[in-house]
Amino acid sequence: MRGRHRFAIPFLQYLDTHGEVDVPLPAWTSDIERLQKLYEQMVLARTLDQKAVALQRTGQLGTYPSTLGQEAVGVAIGLAMQADDVLVPYYRDAIAQILRGMPPENILLFWGGEERGSDPGGASQDFPPCVPVATQLSHAAGVATAMKLRNESRVTLVTCGDGATSKGDFMESLNLAGVWQLPLVVVINNNQWAISVPLKQQTAAQSLAQKAIAAGIDGTQVDGNDVIAVYDAVKTALDKARKLRQPSLIEAVSYRLSDHTTADDASRYRDQKELNVHWAEEPIGRFQHFLHTRGYWDEAREKALQAHCRETVDAVVAAYLAAEAENPEAIIDYLYAFLPAALEEQREAIGRKAEVLNGQENPGA
């Protein structure tokens, strides 16, 4: 405990901002289909995302947080995790959730104002997206604790934004991961803004990855717009958690090309010039360039992908719009496992009230 201590935080990047490579790539990149899939899913993510924004603009969706420019992070996570691992996402992780099996229309249902939209589908034990910033870190630490206590080889992965790293529970959870050696991977999507607050007003730390040092665990900073680097870092961390039961922190440095949510107007506080710089570094164009250069991608594939994405998105929107209304008593039926007697009267009142409201909406009925 006593004595001089030294620490280092590595930085991981394979593709430079132009999609050029001048370092050896990790072994798994010989799997060309994997590379293609990473690309395809980023494109799908963006297509869905932009559709969701459009739905909001036309009054068909509530407030929605876009992931524009941060697709590499969610896609890498979604593809690197195993099915029975547990993802504890935050609200900007739609694509990771979808890649783990969530029916994409649920994303819309969620932001459309329906609790059912939090269903990840199937037997998944994933958490729903978390709104109160950073609180999900502790849930994830708890999930990982359960895995550890039961001696399972599953892993928990939790995400958060750069702003979240300022909130106490972020560090409390990281610290626990260290002291209990939890099978936990924490991924920060450092999109460099927390609504209107830029990173330099959030912390004086030179990197967010170094927050790991405070917890005595490994921290790595990766270029979050380099999907190879993110995927590689996440995979390595998952492996380490699975096999060595060691936690780690990954900071993926990305950039939020969108407004914070559709309720936000970033032009109030963010310079267009800064935005332009970051558009030039976004993950999809860069990776497409790389794939082209290697001959893993061509126009025909791109055309097919675009068509596929359009079709998928149309189907998703159709499913969303077709979703039948949940019955009104649902607002109290899931409060407890068994409705307490004390609430029976209120449940009835809910039903009656819904009928009155329905009558108002359809005065002819």
């Binding site: 407030t63 104002g113 329906e114 909130k167 609504i195 607050v197 109290i332």
Partner: protein
């Protein structure tokens, strides 16, 4: 220290203008007035600076007063409350914004254990003249956690003041009073009516009292008690019933803590009937306390049980079913009718 509600000299830099504005603009106006008058007033919170707050309540203030007076904090509500206490103990008058009341929980330890206690703990040596502003309430189709009304939690904590304006005019005067008050004030802004109405606001720096309810309408048949956004529905119902010859006395509680029961009890002694309306869940809501006290203090005059129209004892639903949760004019009117017909 100024006793809240005292007349104050208008700062030279600011001439008395009659502004017309919405509730959220009244908040800005009051903040601007007081920042000009008293350079101890410092604003802090998430996104309150360049962005002017997500509801624009602090719009333009950083530009006008500089970034030493309007501070964008890191994302940590506990910290925001905690440093406000430290600043207040040093004689500043921090006005902190919690972006939505749903995110006030991390600040509760600081509010309950320190803000509310510092004066008592130090027997008056250190004090906490701070204001914590938070938009609250539902009805704007916001995502989960953006619609809570948890004023009852704060109203249970000794040492706090809890204030809720119901109009632009009140927001202006009550916020000035809150900032000038030498003790911690939780100032809850009903965001559903942030922009519902424009109202004349004499920008004269005149504070409203922090310990009296406002009787918005006199009446003889029933006392209707509410606060915040629900005052709109209550007013509408009272107006409607007036056309039917039913005379409602409408009381805007405005200051939830300390609670001016005198105004309410005097009214109920006159009308003999009382209905309380609030958005928060019924169990343990502020309505319970008012009902209990009305019963204690006007027992013999009551001609019907004090009734409560409230949210249900469940989680505020996501947007699509928000309307089922929210008390509305039909709920209020039918309860009033029941209470009037009670025998």
């Amino acid at each position: 220290m100024n006793k809240p509600g005292l007349e104050l000299s208008v700062p030279d830099t600011e001439s008395v203008t009659i502004a017309e504005g919405t509730l959220v603009e009244a908040v800005t106006l009051a903040l601007r007035y007081e920042m000009a008058r008293d350079d101890c007033v410092v604003i802090l919170g998430e996104d309150v600076g360049v962005n002017g707050g997500v509801f624009r309540a602090t719009e333009g203030l950083q530009k006008q007063f500089g970034s030493n007076r309007v501070l964008d904090t890191p994302l940590a509500e506990g910290l925001i409350a905690g440093i406000s206490i430290g600043m207040a103990a040093q004689g500043l008058k921090p006005v902190a914004e919690i972006q939505f009341m749903g995110f006030i929980f991390p600040a509760l330890e600081q509010i309950a254990c320190h803000a509310a206690r510092l004066r008592n703990r130090t027997r008056g040596r250190l004090s906490c003249p701070l204001v914590i502003r938070a938009p609250f309430g539902g009805g704007i189709r916001a995502p989960e956690h953006h619609s809570e009304s948890t004023e009852a939690l704060l109203a249970h904590l000794p040492g706090l003041r809890v204030v809720v304006p119901s109009s632009a005019y009140k927001a202006y005067g009550l916020l000035l009073a809150a900032i000038r008050d030498p003790d911690p004030v939780i100032f809850l802004e009903p965001k559903r009516i942030y922009r519902a109405q424009r109202q004349r606001i004499p920008n004269d720096g005149q504070a409203l009292p922090l310990d009296t309810c406002f009787t918005l309408r006199e009446g003889t048949d029933l006392t209707l008690v509410s606060w915040g956004a629900m005052i709109s529905e209550c007013t509408q119902v009272a107006n409607d019933l007036a056309t039917r010859g039913i005379s409602i006395e409408l009381i805007d509680v405005a200051t939830i803590k300390p609670l001016d029961m005198e105004t309410i009890v005097t009214s109920v002694k006159k009308t003999g009937r009382c209905v309380i309306v609030h958005e928060a869940p019924r169990a343990g809501g502020v309505g319970a306390d008012i009902a209990a006290q009305v019963n204690e203090q006007a027992f013999l005059e009551l001609q019907a049980p004090v009734a409560r129209v409230t949210g249900f004892d469940t989680i505020m639903p996501y947007a699509r079913k928000e309307d089922i949760y929210m008390p509305n004019t039909i709920d209020i009117q039918s309860q009033i009718e029941k209470t009037l017909n009670f025998s």
